[in-house]
Amino acid sequence: MNPPTSTAPPPAPLPPQPAAKGGATRPGDRIFVGLSRGSGVLLLVIMAAIAVFLTYRAYIAISDNQANFLTAFEWNPQGQPPQFGIAILAYGTVVSSIIAMAIAVPIAVGIALFVSHYAPRRMASPLAYVIDLLAAVPSIVYGLWGALVLVPYLDGMNSWLDQYLGWTYIFEKTSSGPARNLFTVGILLAVMILPVITNVTREVFLQVPRAHEEAALALGATRWEVIRMSVLPFGRSGIISASMLGLGRALGETMAVATVLSPSFLFSGHLLDPGGGTFAQNIAAKFNEANEYGRDALIASGLVLFVMTLIVNGAARMIIARRKEYSGANA
C-alpha cells in the first residue's frame, strides 16, 4: 500500500502512536464497545433462549403424550389420556408448500426475467417498485382475500379438475363443499411468496455481467438463447436461494392458511378435499381452547416448525454465502 521510498525521517508519527493506543482505553470507547458487543451477544442469547425454552416446554408436553408424537393422526392433548401427533400437520405443511413452490418458482423467474430483460425500459423500475410494495402486504390481508375472493373463484376450477383430472387420485374430489383445501392454500401461498422470490431473483439477474450477454448476442443468439446460455446459468444459485427463502416463508405462514383452510385431522390424499392442516395454522386455530398443557403441545409442534425453517433458511444462506459476489441478499 505505502510506497517503500522513504522521504525525510518524520518525527511527527511517533508521538500520536501512544495517543492512538491510549484511545482504545478511553472510558467512552470502552462503554461503547461494551454496549455494541453486548447487543450482538444479546441476539445470540435470544436465539439460544428460543431453542432452549421451546425444547423445554415441548419436552414437558411430549413426555406425557400417550400417542406417538411423530406419527399419530390426532390432536387431543387435553383428552384423557392426552394424545397428539404431528403427522397430519407435517403432511399438510409440506404438501401446501410444495404446491406453492411448484406454482410460484417458475412464475417468479418469469416475472424476474420480464422485469430485467423483457419489459420496456420505462416500465421496468416502476414494476420492480410495485413488486417491492406487494411483498409488504400483510399476510392477514392475503388471508382475507383468499378466503372471501379466491375460495369462491376456485370452486369452479376444483370441479373442473375433478372432472378431467379426477383419475389421477390426487385431484379426485370425494366430498363436496367449498374449496377450503390444501390445493387452495398452496395457490394462495404461491401468490404470497411470488414477490419475495421475484425480488431476490431479479437482483441476481441484474448482476449478470453485460459482457456475457453481449458475447452471446454477438454470436447471433436470440433473446431466449442469451437468457438460457448466460443469464440462467449465472443466476442459478440465486434462483435456488430465493426459492428457499420463499419456501421458508410458506412453511411458517399462519394467518393466510388459518383463514382459508377448514381443518381436520382425517388424512386424505385427495388435495381437493377440505381438511388437513399445517403447523402454524393448527397453533392459531387450537390456541384459544388450549389449557396450559395444550399450549405446551402446540409449542412442541412449533418447535418442529422452527427446526424445519432453520434448516431451509440455513441452506439458503449457505448457498448465498458461497457466492461472495452476490451481496444483495438481505431479503
Binding site: R37, S39, G40, L43, F114, I140, Y142, L144, T309, N313
Partner: protein, 358 residues
C-alpha cells in the same frame, strides 16, 4: 400516371431484403394472435359453460402460446419460434401474477371504502356483536400503535448497536456467529416468535396476556431486519470519513456517533420504517399474546388489547356480512398504513441517499 410509378418503385425493391434475411412475421402478428386467442378462449369458455373467468384466461393463454409457436415455426424457423415462445411465456407469467395481485388490491379498496369513514376510525367495538352494523377500529388502532411503538423502542437501539458492532468492531468468531444468526433470525416464522414469548413470559414467568407481551414477540421479528438494513448502510459510509475524523484525534465512539451515523441516517431511517411496516401487519404473535378485545385499553402493560391485523382476523372469523365489512375496512386501513410507511421510507432513502458512497 406518376402515381403508379411511385407505387411500383418500392414494390420492386421489396423482395431484395427478404432474400437476404429470414422471413419475419409482421410486427402486429403477436398482438393479432393475442386478440384471436383471447376471443377463442372466451368462446370456448362460454361454450363449455365454465363459470370461472380464470379458466377462460388459462385457455386463452394456452392457445396463444401454442399458436405463436406453430405460426413462427412455419414462417421464421424453430430458433425464432423458441424465442417467441419464451417471450410469450414470460408475458403470460407476468399477467398471471398481476391478476391475483390486482384483484387483491381492488377488492380491498372497493370493499373497504364502503365502510371506512370518520365513525369507523373513532369508535371501538364495545357492546356490539357480529349481527350489529357499526362499530369501528379505534381500539385496534390504539393497540397497534402502542405495541408497534414499544417494539420499535426496544428493537431499534439493540439493532443499531449490533449493526455498529458488526461493521465497526466485529472481528473473529463472535462477529461471524452474530452475522449468521441474524440471518437465521430473519427467517423465524412469526408464530414461532409468539410461541417463544408464550413459553417464557406467559408460561414460565406466569405473566398474563398484554400488549407488552405482543411487543416482545414483535421485537424479535424486528431486530434482525433493523440489523441487516443498518449494516448495509454503515458499510456504504466511505472509510475516508472515519479516517479523517480519527486523524483529528476524535475518539472512535464519537466518530461513530458524530460522523458515521449521521452520514448513514437516511438509509437507517428507511430500514427502520420498513421494519415497522413489516411488524405492523403481523397477526400470529398478537393472536397468541395479546388475545384481542372489543374495548379501548390504553395500557399496554395490563390486560388484553386489540390490534389492527388481529381485528381483521377476528371479524373474519365471526362470519357475518357486517363483520366481513368491518374486516375489509380494517384491512384497507392496515394496507394504507403499511403502504404509506413504505412510500415515505423510500422517499427518505432517495432524498438522503449518501452521495459519497461507492
Amino acid at each position: 400516371m406518376s402515381h403508379t410509378v411511385m407505387d411500383r418503385a418500392p414494390a420492386t425493391e421489396a423482395p431484395a431484403p427478404r432474400s437476404l434475411a429470414h422471413r419475419r412475421l409482421p410486427r402486429w402478428a403477436p398482438a393479432a394472435l393475442a386478440v384471436a386467442s383471447a376471443a377463442l378462449g372466451a368462446g370456448i369458455g362460454l361454450a363449455a359453460g365454465f363459470e370461472s373467468r380464470v379458466q377462460w384466461g388459462l385457455i386463452a393463454a394456452l392457445l396463444f402460446v401454442v399458436s405463436t409457436y406453430a405460426v413462427t415455426t412455419a414462417v421464421e424457423g424453430s430458433r425464432q419460434a423458441k424465442d417467441r415462445i419464451a417471450t410469450s411465456v414470460v408475458w403470460v407469467c407476468f399477467v398471471l401474477a398481476v391478476v391475483p395481485l390486482a384483484s387483491l388490491a381492488w377488492t380491498t379498496v372497493e370493499r373497504g371504502s364502503r365502510i371506512l369513514d370518520g365513525y369507523f376510525l373513532s369508535h371501538s367495538m364495545a357492546g356490539l356483536n357480529q349481527n350489529t352494523p357499526g362499530g369501528g377500529i379505534y381500539h385496534a388502532l390504539i393497540g397497534t400503535l402502542e405495541q408497534v411503538g414499544i417494539a420499535t423502542l426496544i428493537a431499534v437501539p439493540i439493532g443499531l448497536l449490533t449493526a455498529i458492532y458488526l461493521v465497526e468492531y466485529g472481528r473473529g468468531r463472535l462477529a461471524q456467529a452474530v452475522t449468521f444468526f441474524v440471518d437465521v433470525m430473519t427467517g423465524i416464522p412469526s408464530i414461532v416468535a409468539g410461541l417463544f414469548i408464550l413459553s417464557t413470559w406467559v408460561l414460565t414467568f406466569g405473566m398474563g396476556p398484554s400488549g407488552f407481551a405482543g411487543s416482545l414477540a414483535l421485537t424479535i421479528l424486528m431486530m434482525p431486519v433493523v440489523v441487516r438494513s443498518t449494516e448495509e448502510m454503515l458499510k456504504l459510509v466511505p472509510n475516508e470519513l472515519r479516517e479523517a475524523s480519527l486523524a483529528l484525534g476524535v475518539p472512535k465512539w464519537r466518530t461513530i456517533l458524530k460522523v458515521v451515523l449521521p452520514t448513514a441516517i437516511g438509509g437507517i431511517t428507511t430500514g427502520v420504517m420498513l421494519a415497522v411496516a413489516r411488524i405492523a401487519g403481523e397477526t400470529a404473535p398478537v393472536l397468541l399474546l395479546v388475545l384481542g378485545s372489543s374495548f379501548i385499553n390504553n395500557d399496554p402493560f395490563d390486560g388484553t388489547q386489540a390490534s389492527l391485523p388481529l381485528y381483521v382476523y377476528q371479524e373474519y372469523m365471526l362470519g357475518t356480512p357486517h363483520s366481513y365489512d368491518r374486516a375489509w375496512g380494517a384491512a384497507l386501513v392496515l394496507i394504507i398504513f403499511v403502504m404509506v410507511l413504505n412510500l415515505v421510507a423510500r422517499a427518505i432513502a432517495r432524498w438522503k441517499a449518501p452521495a459519497t458512497g461507492r
